[in-house]
């Protein structure tokens, strides 16, 4: 199917390049995939690997629901091409618990009732895991600022901050 681009040239919108081999370690397991280059990491996790804990909220990097850890750093998986993560290690919400024991953040979110509908929660928890690893946030004020990339439309923010403080070992 062809259509006219902004510069007036006809463009082939189904360029159909060959799929690209991609190897990503997801929650400790190496996955070999063949992916179209435009597949995002988010869509790969949800649609190819059935890891639907990671949520598609806005799909434009504005809400944080898709937050995962790539090589330990929190990112928006909706804005990351899977082919560019070749060789990387990805941790999603499904990979945080170990041997059936909840991650300290997961337990803290339960303890502090840090959600209502729960849709933003996987992104909130993965983002908070990234925040703990960064070690920059010391105060509630700094937690709030460094968690601002995760929107909660239920408005559970005070409880989210309290849960993160618990996981940080703060009173």
């Amino acid at each position: 199917m062809a259509r006219t681009g902004p510069d007036g040239r006809a463009e082939d919108i189904v360029a159909v390049p060959e799929k690209v081999p991609v190897a990503i370690t997801v929650n400790g397991v190496l996955k070999h995939l063949r992916l179209a280059p435009w597949t995002t990491l988010l869509d790969t996790l949800r649609d190819r690997l059935d890891l639907t804990g990671t949520k598609k909220g806005c799909d434009h990097g504005q809400c944080g629901a898709c937050t995962v850890l790539v090589d330990g750093r929190r990112i928006n998986s909706c804005l990351a091409l899977a082919v560019m993560q070749d060789g990387a290690s990805v941790t999603t919400i499904e990979g945080l618990a170990t041997d059936g024991v909840l991650h300290a953040l997961q337990q803290a979110f339960i303890d502090h009732d840090a959600f209502q509908c729960g849709y933003c929660t996987p992104g909130q928890i993965c983002s908070a895991a990234g925040l703990l690893a960064e070690g920059r946030a010391k105060s509630a004020e700094e937690i709030r600022e460094l968690m601002s990339g995760n929107i909660c439309r239920c408005g559970a923010y005070p409880n989210i901050v309290a849960a993160i403080q618990q996981a940080m070992g703060q009173p």
Binding site: V16, L79, A80, R136, E141
Partner: protein, 338 residues
């Protein structure tokens, strides 16, 4: 998003060679703006060239006494780099004022310079936009222009450059190093971004097939007297209505050197040498600051919804100069304006 070919660049020369083969090709590093624009059908590259693995990720001492920052240093790494925090705290602060922690982890230094405007009409392919489709008209001039430019705009475009980091970089007199088919060259930061004129489709003076390789900072970093003050609709994770980067050198209460740049007000980070000249040699006082603010805004022009930004900018300049002179820079995690 349209289908595209994907390839990886092996070195800078290979990147330059690859991008020259396809007119619509784009480099991708962090991808935080480009992927979004592709999802919106605003950018339609038929090839993406992955430069994210090129060895441009270090911050090094430069021969000029300053620092050389690789184009692929992530924004977060730059903001928290000990040498940046010590010697160029205004730059660190400006980076932490922008985007979110996740986006700063992904976004590259070079990509921050090359991000496109967030003008809503640029993003909306159903409306005319001279930046997206040259000659189609500007929907913002008679439209919803609350976020738009008050300085240096044209009949063709009133979009603003969205970066915070670039406001500090222009204030610090940084230099952009680029490589292209004709070799390497250096561009003064103030000359890197353009005013819209009658060609708003061109954001920068980067030429076809050129790639940003590094940003160089001169020695003077204003660590004692600086600030980055950002005024926005939300307290975090929002683009600036107005921002001000200030660096001062004081001797007693006399201003020996001054840097002043604004964000959120123009098609480029707005630095005003006339206002800086008016500050030099003067006492650091409210009247000096007010005069400088009047000079910066002397040619400001508002549109239906953004006239408030002229006064907002004037007050932001005075407040930022006051913060810098007092040695009490704005803290980005604090929501109180000092």
């Amino acid at each position: 998003m349209i289908g595209f070919q994907f390839s990886r660049a092996h070195d800078v020369a290979d990147a330059v060679r690859q991008i020259a083969t396809e007119p619509s090709a784009k480099f991708i590093a962090g991808g935080t703006n480009l992927i979004d624009l592709m999802k919106q059908d605003v950018e339609r590259p038929l090839r993406l060239i992955d430069i994210s693995r090129l060895p441009l990720k270090s911050v090094e001492e430069a021969a000029n006494g300053g620092l050389r920052i690789g184009a692929l240093v992530p924004n977060a790494d730059l903001a928290y780099h000990p040498l940046i925090a010590q010697r160029y705290p205004m730059l660190a602060s400006s980076i932490l004022a922008g985007a979110s922690a996740q986006l700063r982890n992904m976004a590259s230094t070079g990509g921050n310079l090359l991000q496109r405007t967030r003008c809503c009409y640029f993003y909306d392919t159903a409306t005319p936009c001279n930046k997206r489709e040259p000659g189609s008209g500007c929907s913002a001039i008679g439209g919803l222009n609350r976020m738009h430019a008050i300085l240096g705009a044209s009949e063709s475009c009133i979009a603003t450059h969205p970066s915070d980091m670039c406001v500090a970089l222009v204030a610090l007199d940084a230099t952009v190093h680029v490589a292209g088919p004709g070799g390497q060259r250096a561009i003064a930061f103030a000359d890197f971004h353009r005013l819209p004129g009658d060609a708003p489709q061109r954001d920068t003076t980067l030429q076809a097939s050129e790639i940003v390789t590094a940003i160089e900072l001169p020695e003077r970093g204003f660590p004692a007297h600086h600030t980055y003050l950002k005024i926005r609709d939300r307290l975090s994770y929002a683009f600036a209505l107005v921002s001000a980067a200030v660096g001062l050198e004081l001797e007693g209460n006399t201003i020996k050197d001054a840097r002043l740049a604004l964000g959120g007000v123009a098609h480029k980070p707005w630095r005003d040498p006339t206002a800086e000249t008016a500050l030099r040699g003067q006492p650091a006082s409210p009247s000096t600051f007010a005069r400088a603010a009047d000079i910066v805004l002397r040619d400001a022009k508002g549109y239906e919804h953004n006239r408030f930004k002229i006064d907002l900018a004037r007050r932001a300049v005075v407040r930022a100069l006051t913060q810098a002179a007092a040695g009490t820079p704005q803290v980005q995690s604090s929501k109180k304006i000092a």
